[in-house]
């Protein structure tokens, strides 16, 4: 059974379609990265799954139970919004052991034990009795993650969980999310591609409310394996830039990134493209130090799909 299933979901805000016939299934026990540019509909999808919004048409299920504002599915999920807000006068211990545990009707002893375990896991055990009002953004995010796990959820919905964090906070948070893999299904929206590449097993790419791709990370990268090329020139960067500007006019070139004399070229992936690129490099009259068909990064795939 899929941990998350979405069938034909449309969500209209006035005349604007935030989601336009979204179909999606996420396997149990996986970390699913939900990618898309701003406004693609990622947050709307997560809010529908969390029971905070209703689809205009279609249906979503969490652990086999239809999602909705009064749905029993909420017992089985944990939800972390992009910027979680708490009651500033509460302490983490009160929030988790008394409030969140109370909402899930957990026995007090179990609630206290789970709270202590989670606070230790997210590194907040030393501030368990400090008021949340004085917490930094990173601490709030970690507390947010702890509250999503309080009820041993079958599905954890994370909306841009690391976008507001500094590099160290991001690394810690991603490590924590990665550790959840064996315990639950993680459905994580983000626009930070490195993070997805690091921890997600499967990936969905959304644009303007429509799903462009949905498959395992490796399969996705493999499928687009021929689409990137790296050429290291032994030539002045200006000369390389002039050549790149000409190359970019070609229809089979999706994009060129330059780092001094190193060019990374994204092609459209059509047959014969690599040969055409090779001819262009040879015709540039620039000396080549290295020429390599590169495994595309997720960013290459994402940009190709979203911009294409």
């Amino acid at each position: 059974m899929s941990a998350v299933r979405i069938e034909g979901v449309r969500k209209l805000y006035g005349s604007v379609a935030a989601l336009d016939g979204l179909d999606l299934a996420v396997e149990e026990g996986s970390v699913f990265g939900f990618l898309g540019p701003n406004g693609a509909g990622k947050t709307t999808t997560i809010r529908i799954l969390a029971g905070l919004a209703r689809p205009t048409a279609g249906q979503a299920w969490v652990a086999g139970i239809p999602a909705g504002p009064e749905s029993a599915a909420r017992r089985l999920l944990g939800y972390l919004p992009e910027e979680p807000h708490f009651y500033p006068w509460m302490t983490p211990q009160e929030f988790l052991a008394d409030f969140v545990a109370g909402l899930f009707r957990m026995p007090p002893r179990e609630a206290r034990a789970r709270c202590a375990e989670l606070l230790e896991r997210v590194g907040l055990q030393d501030v368990a009795r400090r008021r949340i009002g004085g917490f930094s953004k990173g601490m709030r995010q970690r507390l947010g993650l702890a509250q999503t796990l309080m009820n041993h959820p079958r599905v954890v919905l994370l909306d841009e969980p690391v976008s507001a964090l500094d590099p160290a906070g991001r690394r810690d948070m991603l490590t924590l999310i990665g550790e959840l893999k064996s315990q639950t299904t993680v459905f994580m929206s983000t626009h930070i591609l490195d993070d997805v590449e690091r921890i997600c097993d499967s990936i969905g790419i959304l644009r303007a409310g429509r799903l462009l791709a949905l498959e395992g990370r490796e399969a996705l990268l493999e499928r687009h394996a021929a689409s990137a090329l790296e050429v290291d020139f032994d030539a002045p960067p200006e000369a390389v830039a002039a050549w790149a500007a000409e190359l970019q006019k070609q229809p089979f070139v999706a994009g060129v990134e330059l780092r001094e004399s190193l060019a990374r070229i994204r092609s459209d992936g059509e047959q014969g493209t690599l040969e055409a690129l090779q001819r262009s490099v040879l015709g540039s009259a620039l000396r080549v130090l290295r020429y390599q068909v590169a495994r595309p990064s997720l960013e290459d795939v994402f940009l190709r799909l979203v911009e294409g």
């Binding site: 809010r47 969390a50 029971g51 905070l52 919004a53 209703r54 504002p69 009064e70 029993a72 909420r74 017992r75 999920l77 939800y79 919004p81 910027e83 979680p84 807000h85 708490f86 009651y87 006068w89 009160e94 008394d98 409030f99 969140v100 109370g102 909402l103 899930f104 509250q147 009820n151």
Partner: protein, 252 residues
Amino acid sequence: MITLLKKELLEAWRSYRLLVVAAVLTSFGLLGPLSVKYMPDLLGALPNVPQGLADLMPPPNASLAVAEYVENIALFGAILALLVPMGALAGEKASGTAALVLSKPVGRGAFLMAKFLAHSATFAAGVLLAGLGAYYYTGLLFEWLDATRFMALNALLLLDLIAYMSITLFGGALFRSQLAAAGTGFGFLVGLGVLGAVPSLGNYLPAALVRWGLGLAQGAVGQPAWPALATTVGLVLAALLLGWCALRRQEI
């Protein structure tokens, strides 16, 4: 529901909401008998007061003290009933805490009801303290009133305030803005004032409860305002029901 109610009561305590409501109502409650007793003396002691002004004031007595108390609590209690609950729902929706809570297995009706009960308890504590203070000072300065009748007056005052508070909560259920929530309560208050000017309607409105209570406390034999009681209870129930419906339909 119990967890939500506990949280609301704890919040009333930690955010000083309970303290503010109790302090304001108690202060103005005490001011009733004290001002009636000492105002003539104060006026007499002030310079540049026109001669004979103090003589124009009616002689202070327990009845006047109670009337002053009722006026103070009805006015400042109504202001508090607009200001205190205006952020209860609207604020939580705007800040995002409501989204965090309602993604858990919590009914939206329970979310609203917990806020209603906690705010009612806050106002009840405030009116109780104000009533005790006013009763004590009225007895001390004038004469001891019938405690049961005075308690009935305070119960009716409390119900009047709960009606305004419920409408403000209803405004919070409708809107995300705290100002809009308070505006809903204020609009309702003004609307009732306008309707109250129509003689045939006056006996059906919450203000008649206050007049009934005042008459009871002053020992007067008057007509009980049962229609006003029914209207007020009906208003509270309608505000809760409509607020619940609004919340159920809403995207948080």
